[in-house]
């Protein structure tokens, strides 16, 4: 393996060990739990953002009247800014690593469903509906339940983690089966 690039550049550009990343997220959770007493979470703020999306259509008064949004009003609070930060961090990382790339039909999808963009985008939209609807019904997502809740040994969160994984595995088995019924290697 060539070592022509300097060590700093390779840290900036290459992917990191998933164990290190996981440990990093763990350390991040120490900070958020102790300094701001919040979990790492995405779905609560995203559903508040959905209220912001509805506001131009039905008016902010209607949004405030909704029994769910009344408790999760869209505003630039900690959770919303955490979302913004996440977006910016991923952007900075992708640009630094030069992996920023427009993608419409990813490889694994294309291998199974072909190159149709319409098909992929329809599935993405439908999947997105299920993901946030399911997250709010469960009270959290892979960040709020999967990481923050599980690390607190919450019964709700471990139930979420295991059920989510099982449902995902079954869905993947159905969605990505080959015509012969055998998985191609």
């Amino acid at each position: 393996m060539t070592t022509l690039h300097s060590p700093t550049r390779s840290i900036l550009t290459r992917p990191w060990s998933p164990y290190l990343v996981g440990a990093g997220i763990g350390v991040l959770s120490w900070l958020v739990f102790s300094l701001v007493e919040k979990p790492l979470g995405m779905s609560t703020s995203l559903s508040a953002a959905a209220g912001a999306c509805a506001a131009p259509v039905v008016g902010m008064d209607e949004v405030a009247r909704n029994p769910y949004w009344a408790r999760h009003m869209p505003k630039w609070d900690y959770g919303m800014l955490f979302l913004v930060g996440t977006f910016l961090g991923a952007l900075a990382s992708a640009v630094a690593a030069r992996t920023f790339r427009l993608e419409i039909v990813p490889t694994v999808w294309r291998e199974r469903f072909g190159p149709s963009r319409a098909k992929r985008l329809l599935a993405a939209f439908a999947g997105g509906i299920l993901v946030l609807y399911g997250a709010r019904m469960a009270g959290g997502c892979t960040s709020g339940h999967g990481i923050s809740g599980s690390l607190q040994l919450a019964l709700s969160s471990w139930t979420f983690f295991l059920t989510m994984f099982a449902a995902g595995a079954v869905t993947a088995a159905i969605l990505f089966r080959t015509r012969a019924g055998r998985r191609e290697r």
Binding site: W16, V21, G22, A23, G26, V27, S29, W30, F33, V36, P39, L40, M42, L46, S47, A50, G51, N66, F82, G85, T86, F87, L88, G89, A90, S93, A94, F100, E103, P106, W109, R120, L121, A124, A126, G127, G128, I129, L130, V131, G134, R136, M137, G139, C141, T142, I147, G149, S150, L151, A154, L155, W158, T159, F160, F161, A167, V170, T171, L175
Partner: protein, 191 residues
């Protein structure tokens, strides 16, 4: 220092912590549709490695901080029907979308246009939930609500024992995964 930090300082921290989270998600390759979907096909274990390590490392640290009185626990209530049904919808959706809310948002920032369309889907899902909330609250969220239970409460096994167990499971499972992955990896050419 007065804890917890609130006000404008907290908002600044939100951006910083979020930034770190976004970097970690991207560097961990979990902003990649293929990595996430292949986890559910059991062909790529990156997602599990990241999440489980985060849970064990995070959990041990937060437990210590909690014992020192520096980190309150705040667990979500075990509304068993809502959690189970919601998780099932979420799991199915995550495979169809190919992302979860956090990785999906981060993926948009890496250029994924289908993640962006899915983000619009998430907004639609959020609106649908708000519209159906009264019904869901009355018929689903109220069913089998066990309250803010934690595994030590349910089992009598203390916190530290749980983390010893989880760490042991992690080590065994990860060692097995590494061995499987090493076998299926093509031999690297000599440097």
């Amino acid at each position: 220092m007065n804890l917890p930090i609130t006000g404008t300082a907290a908002l600044v921290l939100a951006l910083l912590f979020g930034f770190a989270f976004g970097v970690l998600l991207h560097r961990g390759r979990v902003t990649d549709y293929n990595v996430i979907v292949n986890q559910f096909r059991f062909r790529d274990f990156t997602v599990l490695k990241v999440m489980f390590t985060a849970i064990v490392v995070g959990g041990v640290g937060v437990l210590v901080l909690h014992k020192l009185g520096r980190a309150p626990y705040d667990v979500k209530p075990a509304q068993m029907l809502g959690v189970t049904l919601g998780a099932a919808l979420f799991g199915a959706g995550m495979v169809i979308y190919g992302y979860c809310p956090g990785t999906g948002l981060a993926a948009v920032a890496t250029g994924s246009l289908h993640a962006l369309v899915g983000l619009a889907g998430m907004m639609a899902g959020g609106i649908l939930y708000a519209l159906s909330f009264r019904w869901v609250q009355a018929h689903i969220l109220s069913v089998a609500n066990q309250g803010k239970l934690r595994l030590p409460d349910v089992t009598g096994l203390p916190d530290w024992a749980w983390f010893v167990l989880l760490a042991a499971i992690a080590l065994i499972v990860f060692a097995a995964i590494e061995r499987i992955e090493r076998k299926s990896r093509p031999a690297t050419p000599a440097a």
